[in-house]
């Protein structure tokens, strides 16, 4: 079986040689001003290496989503910088940023967010289509990844015909299939029951180990955070703890 990691070609010399996927430098994100000023994220300096399986934890409102959105180029920082594969994403605009997200970042959302009119297979295929990947290659990758996320036989189901856990597996497959530099998952298990959530996390961890895929996910569920190899703790927008475990 070909793994996705084996198919992967270096994106450029820098990223191939460097183990650092993400670097945030003095990253700040403030909302509002004056009395209503909210410092959602303050002075975050983080480095995430290739193949890490990192949890961002913290209570609700601590800035987890804000951090992931900044890293993924969905939001712009008030100050500071995000480097992804050594590229400054704050300097990109419009379709440059679209293409960057398409090729370098895989998103998994709390609410699954699959396209309801497309089947599981088509949801996964869509992003490869944007990348201009050939039909043959697309079919091959879909088969491989449906197997990897344990959804064989459900290729033609629409999202409405899948359970929450199954939908989130499709979302994981969609995020991975474009072979991004990093997969960002904002509370991917929050809408799932505890058992399904743990199964999903274990599956993500297996993919991380087998294919050296870099995952960063946020959670406030203790049973989920246990499974991370690195835990970054946020409180009121500040990184208060960064711990690597074995």
């Amino acid at each position: 079986m070909t793994t996705l990691a084996q198919n992967k070609k270096p994106k450029n010399d820098d990223s191939a040689n460097s183990a650092t996927v993400i670097e945030t430098k003095a990253l700040c994100r403030h909302f509002g001003q004056g009395d209503t000023l909210v410092k959602a994220l303050t002075n975050a300096n983080l480095t995430i290496e290739r193949g890490e399986f990192t949890a961002i934890i913290g209570p609700s409102g601590s800035g987890k989503s804000t951090l992931l959105q900044l890293i993924g180029g969905l939001d712009s920082p008030t100050s500071g910088d995000v480097l992804l594969d050594n590229r400054h994403i704050s300097q990109m605009t419009g379709s440059e940023l679209s293409d960057f997200r398409r090729d370098h970042i895989g998103f998994i959302f709390q609410a699954y967010n699959l396209i309801p009119v497309l089947s599981a297979k088509e949801n996964i295929e869509y992003i490869m289509l944007l990348q201009g990947i050939s039909a043959h290659e697309r079919a091959k990758r879909v088969t491989t990844i449906m197997h990897a996320v344990g959804l064989e036989g459900l290729e033609d189901r629409r999202p409405a015909e899948l359970s929450g856990g199954q939908q989130q597996r499709v979302a994981v497959a969609r995020a991975m299939v474009s072979e991004p530099s990093i997969i960002l998952a904002d509370e991917p298990t929050a809408n799932l029951d505890s058992k399904t959530g743990i199964e999903l996390l274990d599956m993500m961890k297996t993919l991380n180990e087998q294919q050296n895929m870099t995952f960063v996910f946020s959670t406030h569920d203790p049973k989920i955070m246990e499974r991370a190899k690195r835990i970054i703790r946020l409180v009121d927008g500040c990184v208060v703890d960064d711990e690597r475990r074995n």
């Binding site: 993924g72 939001d75 379709s95 967010n113 009119v117 497309l118």
Partner: protein, 412 residues
């Protein structure tokens, strides 16, 4: 292609709404098509009637004759030109005319009259003059046994002069050589009615007219006007243009009926503009419905556009997707509209609607409203429906394309 699948499925998503939009756009198409068919058909009908009445599709005169008629502005070498025109396969008939305004004496009364010399046979093949004889026999170039030429008198003039078939008519005019032309003619027929073009005219045969005005005869024949009937009135402008090219060296001007009857043509164009306004109103009403559909459809899917954009779809592609959806809807609407319109237009073009009361337009009886089927009648509504749909989709598509993925994702 996945994008086409995506567009189709998005349309099928809210079937009832899409169906309603389809029906209203298809209905709009239907109304446009019918309006056009009727207006084009009616005008074609009117044009056919009056061009066949006397104008012809194309006329030839000495340059400037139409603006300022004169006895001396003649078409010379008549036979050569007639032969040349008749050789053209588009030509159905061509007839020469000589005009000589005269004084007409009847029984103790005098009236001014337009005296027209015609080639009796050619005129009968080209216009409907022969069919408008009310009393007596159609004009010939024969002379009576007493040596008088025949004349055909318009209905009103005959009434005014108290003339009837067999009576003598005296005409006085000026000959082309400057002499006073006067002669006696025998009324052979009364033509037209109180409203028709002929009502104050006198018709003489070409030899009679040439002799009356002392103009060239036989090989030296001259005329003031040539009226040509073509296979179809739509050929008039192109035919006139190419014939003018061939006659550049001569002092002749070739004019299609649009120029000859410019006041009718202009009022027809103005009337068409008027019907464009009513078509605009139809389109406006339909467009508001379409705008509603597209706007609702895109607002509901804000979150989805957020996802599409977050995972790397370019703004332009989101824009294209929405426009594609609209385009597909518009295409199917046109198809539906066509399916509804074609049988009705066909019926209008073949049977037409009989008018409760026939309209008399200057002696031309207009009793059936006819429709028309042509590319124009079908393609214009298609173009208008598609263009207005795309136009109306532009704003929702723009909005969806430009929305920040983060904001869109946070939308409920």
């Amino acid at each position: 292609m996945l994008i086409i699948k995506l567009a189709f499925r998005n349309i099928l998503r809210n079937r009832r709404r899409s169906l309603l939009t389809l029906l209203s756009m298809g209905g709009g198409f239907f109304l446009l098509c019918l309006t056009l068919s009727m207006s084009e058909g009616s005008y074609s009908n009117i044009i056919n009637i009056f061009t066949q009445d006397h104008t012809g599709h194309v006329q030839i005169h000495h340059t400037n004759y139409l603006e300022r008629p004169s006895l001396y502005k003649t078409i010379d070498k008549l036979d050569t030109i007639l032969a040349k025109i008749e050789n053209n396969p588009q030509v159905v008939g061509v007839t020469p005319r000589i005009y000589g305004p005269s004084l007409a004496y009847g029984k103790n009364k005098t009236f001014p009259a337009q005296v027209i010399g015609i080639d009796t046979e050619r005129e009968a093949q080209t216009t409907r003059l022969k069919s408008k004889v009310k009393l007596g026999q159609y004009l010939t170039s024969n002379m009576t046994k007493d040596g008088y030429f025949e004349a055909m008198v318009g209905y009103s003039l005959a009434n005014n002069l108290a003339l009837t078939v067999g009576d003598e008519l005296v005409l006085i005019s000026q000959g082309i050589d400057g002499s006073i032309a006067n002669d006696i003619f025998i009324v052979k027929a009364i033509v037209g009615d109180a409203n028709s073009y002929e009502k104050m005219n006198v018709y003489l045969s070409l030899p009679a007219m040439q002799q009356f005005l002392a103009m060239g005869q036989g090989e030296q024949s001259q005329a003031h006007e040539l009226a040509i009937i073509l296979e179809h009135q739509q050929l008039a402008q192109s035919f006139a243009k190419s014939l003018q090219q061939q006659l550049l060296a001569s002092e002749l001007t070739v004019a299609p009926w649009q120029v000859v009857e410019s006041s009718f043509y202009n009022s027809m164009q103005a009337d068409k503009k008027g019907s464009y306004v009513s078509m605009g109103i139809i389109i406006f009403i339909v467009s508001i419905g379409v705008l509603n559909t597209i706007l609702m459809g895109t607002l509901e899917r804000t979150r989805e556009f957020g996802v599409l954009k977050a995972i790397g779809t370019r703004p332009m592609s989101v824009f294209n997707l929405i426009l594609l959806e609209s385009f597909i809807l518009a295409m199917f609407s046109c198809l539906l509209g066509l399916l509804l319109s074609l049988p009705v237009c066909y019926w209008l073009a073949t049977s037409g609607i009989p008018m409760p009361e026939p309209i008399d337009m200057g002696g031309i009886i207009f009793d059936t409203m006819l429709g028309e089927i042509s590319w124009y009648v079908v393609l214009l509504p298609s173009g208008v429906v598609i263009a207005s749909t795309l136009l109306v989709s532009f704003i929702p598509a723009m909005r969806a394309a430009q929305i920040s993925p983060l904001k869109a994702l946070q939308a409920s």
